[in-house]
């Protein structure tokens, strides 16, 4: 009785896909549709988006589908569709997102100059050229308002995170749910709330600290939740070790748990600040955007970068919109600094940190 060898399937050895023929097929499949679509756009006068959506995409699907069929048989066709759609949508969205960044950088740099960063807006009308006036007062205002808000929120948020991880309090579940609920508070409602509570009733006029107050509920959930998550990553054995050596809970926390979770807590603070530094609506309803430089948070109007952008966009003149772009670039740089700092702090430091991450 002889054993017959099973016929070798035609498309075996899928890892061997880089021979001359398959390379050629791949190159043709990926360049020809782009060529045709570009030609349609440039020479036949087809609109760019139409040629991308109605010429490039179907042709690319067909071409890569055929290539997939030639290289891998029937099973290659859905693969081809998946690859084309991924590249297409991914590229599309990256183009959009990079367009946002690029337009801010491009239009912002046109407005940027030393005096734009340092001067305030006292003598500026909407049509004043960019030679005088700037966002100096708004930068100071943003730093003051967000700084005050941070000063209030960070102890509260970190301590809430401690309560959620380090204690066995009964209401941890409830508090987690409530924090989630605060996270859903629309920012404009927070601002309107402060406006109706303190400005309409005449307790205070427009002032910077009201803006800080409106930012607190927006910042708190972020700080508390990220703190909680970073404290939770500290291995329980560390705490037990400290307690077993006879440390009281507070020393165990301050000298063992907190240092172990330091980078996470700092990240929590930075993320919280990044969350609110660009908030516009709550500040529009609570701080009056003044044109002069002021460092008094408790009395009088205080301009901030987001409200500055909003005001100068609303004015609608060419120069005022240029100013808004400049302010947007300054704001973006501030966010970028915060973001870079957060990444720098939370980067894995050693192999141990990496292992911890993997275990998660």
């Amino acid at each position: 009785m002889s054993v017959e060898a099973v016929a070798r399937p035609k498309f075996a050895e899928p890892w061997k896909k880089t021979n001359q023929r398959s390379k050629l097929i791949q190159i043709i499949a990926s360049t020809v549709p782009i060529g045709i679509a570009t030609a349609a756009w440039l020479f036949a006068g087809v609109d760019l988006i139409v040629s991308v959506l109605l010429v490039l995409l179907p042709l690319q699907l067909i071409a890569v589908g055929i290539a997939g069929f030639l290289l891998k048989g029937r099973r290659g066709v859905p693969d081809a569709a998946l690859i084309v759609m991924t590249y297409f949508l991914g590229t599309f969205v990256m183009v959009l997102l990079v367009s946002v960044l690029w337009s801010v950088v491009e239009a912002g740099f046109a407005a940027l100059s030393p005096q734009f960063i340092f001067q305030n807006n006292v003598y500026v009308t909407p049509t004043t050229g960019l030679e005088i006036g700037g966002v100096g007062h708004a930068v100071i205002g943003t730093l003051l308002v967000v700084g005050l808000s941070t000063l209030v929120t960070v102890p509260l948020g970190v301590a809430t995170g401690v309560y959620l991880t380090e204690t066995r309090g009964k209401s941890r579940g409830v508090i987690r749910v409530l924090l989630q609920a605060i996270a859903g508070l629309p920012s404009v409602v927070a601002g309107l709330f402060v406006y109706s509570m303190l400005i309409v009733t005449g307790v205070s006029a427009y002032a910077g600290w009201l803006g800080s107050l409106a930012l607190v509920p927006l910042m708190l959930p972020t700080v508390a939740r990220v703190t909680e998550e970073s404290l939770r990553l500290v291995p329980q054995e560390l705490r037990n070790g400290a307690l077993g050596l006879g440390a009281p809970s507070w020393r165990a926390f301050l000298m063992v748990t907190l240092p172990a979770a330091k980078s996470g807590v700092v990240t929590a603070i930075l993320l919280g600040v990044a969350r609110v530094i660009g908030e516009t609506a709550p500040l529009l309803t609570t701080t009056f955007a003044a044109n002069n430089t002021s460092i008094n948070v408790f009395d009088g109007g205080l301009a901030t970068l987001p409200t500055y952008i909003y005001n100068y966009v609303s004015l609608g003149f060419d120069t005022s919109i240029q100013r808004a772009w400049g302010a947007a670039l300054v704001l973006l740089i501030l966010v970028g600094i915060l973001f870079g700092a957060a990444r720098y702090v939370s980067r894995p430091k050693s192999l141990k940190a990496k292992k911890k991450k993997e275990k998660r």
Partner: protein, 326 residues
């Protein structure tokens, strides 16, 4: 020999309460902080409710939420947010519909297709873009995207205008729900993409290897293994994006025309729309006491809507990411 009975071991209670003063202070501070955030929320809710109550009473809840018209000058004033509420939902739906395929593609590309350096760079870029303030995206939407979007709307209307969705009542394609939805999509894509990417990265690699070893190709691995495992996490991320879209104020305010008297059910490239947050922003400046109450009532409705979505989302995400709540 009589044995003296040994006492059965007495069950001791384990002491978990802090005993020393310092510990009491430590736990006291953290508990106080935690409860103060509860107090904060309750304060907000109670005062919002109290301020909004007169409007609900005068207008009637159903009439306020689902009716049309916003006439502060009338006597008595008439406030209804029906078109605004639907407008918020419509813009958010357009945004999410556009954002989800893009975000999932981006996450799939980063996690499963891109070479490592490109994947790392794209991840950083996406995370950075998730942190961009919405006012900047609004500025981009107004100055850069609006003309382009209007042009797209014009072409859609020219070629497919007979379909009701693409009909247009004005000869103007700026400030439409489509443009607002697109801007919102650009805003929430990075958020959804970074959540989805994190969920993809947590999928057990063995699952994917097993699927490939069994002869599955890329597409069937994606459809039959990756998607089912990560589906609930992605849904949670999408709902979080939806809540962000509903609460968005300034970006939408820049690029959407608010119409109070009529529902715009589906004409997405017609310049009529609404959004509750933008309504608040546009009216609060010269509002009277009663109108502010009405605006706060609108805020309450929006808050409740986002609250529901957020709760569902956090529930789903918690289910999908068991490593988060060990």
């Amino acid at each position: 020999m009589a044995q003296t009975p040994i006492d059965a071991p007495v069950r001791r209670t384990l002491r978990v309460k802090p005993t020393t003063i310092e510990d009491k202070i430590f736990f006291g501070i953290s508990t106080a902080a935690a409860y103060s955030s509860v107090v904060l929320l309750l304060l907000i809710m109670v005062f919002l409710g109290a301020r909004a109550l007169p409007t609900f009473e005068e207008q009637g809840i159903v009439e306020f939420v689902f009716g049309t018209g916003w006439q502060a000058a009338n006597e008595p004033p008439q406030f209804s947010i029906g078109p605004m509420l639907w407008g918020s939902v419509l813009v958010a739906l357009i945004g999410v519909t556009l954002a989800v395929p893009m975000a999932i593609s981006l996450a799939y590309f980063i996690q499963f297709m891109a070479p490592k350096p490109i994947a790392r760079a794209t991840t950083v870029l996406v995370d950075l873009l998730a942190a961009i303030p919405s006012v900047i995206i609004g500025l981009w939407g107004l100055a850069v995207f609006s003309p382009v979007g209007a042009h797209w709307g014009q072409m859609l209307n020219d070629s497919l205008g007979f379909i009701p969705i693409f009909s247009n009542t004005a000869e103007n394609f700026l400030r439409t729900p489509f443009i607002a939805g697109f801007v919102v999509a650009v805003m929430i894509v990075p958020i959804i993409a970074s959540i989805t990417r994190e969920i993809f990265s947590q999928i057990d690699d063995d699952l994917i290897k097993a699927s490939v070893a069994l002869g599955a190709n890329r597409e069937s691995t994606f459809r039959k293994v990756i998607l089912p495992v990560s589906a609930s996490g992605i849904v949670g991320g999408v709902l979080l994006g939806l809540a962000r879209a509903l609460g968005e104020t300034v970006a939408i305010f820049f690029v959407l025309n608010l119409i109070f008297d009529d529902f715009n059910w589906f004409r997405i490239i017609s310049p009529e729309g609404g959004a509750i947050a933008s309504l608040i922003l546009s009216k609060f400046g010269e509002a009277s006491e009663t109108e502010i109450s009405a605006l706060l009532a609108a805020g309450v409705v929006l808050f409740i809507l986002t609250l529901i979505i957020n709760t569902i989302a956090s529930f789903i995400v918690a289910k999908a990411q068991p490593w988060r709540n060990r």
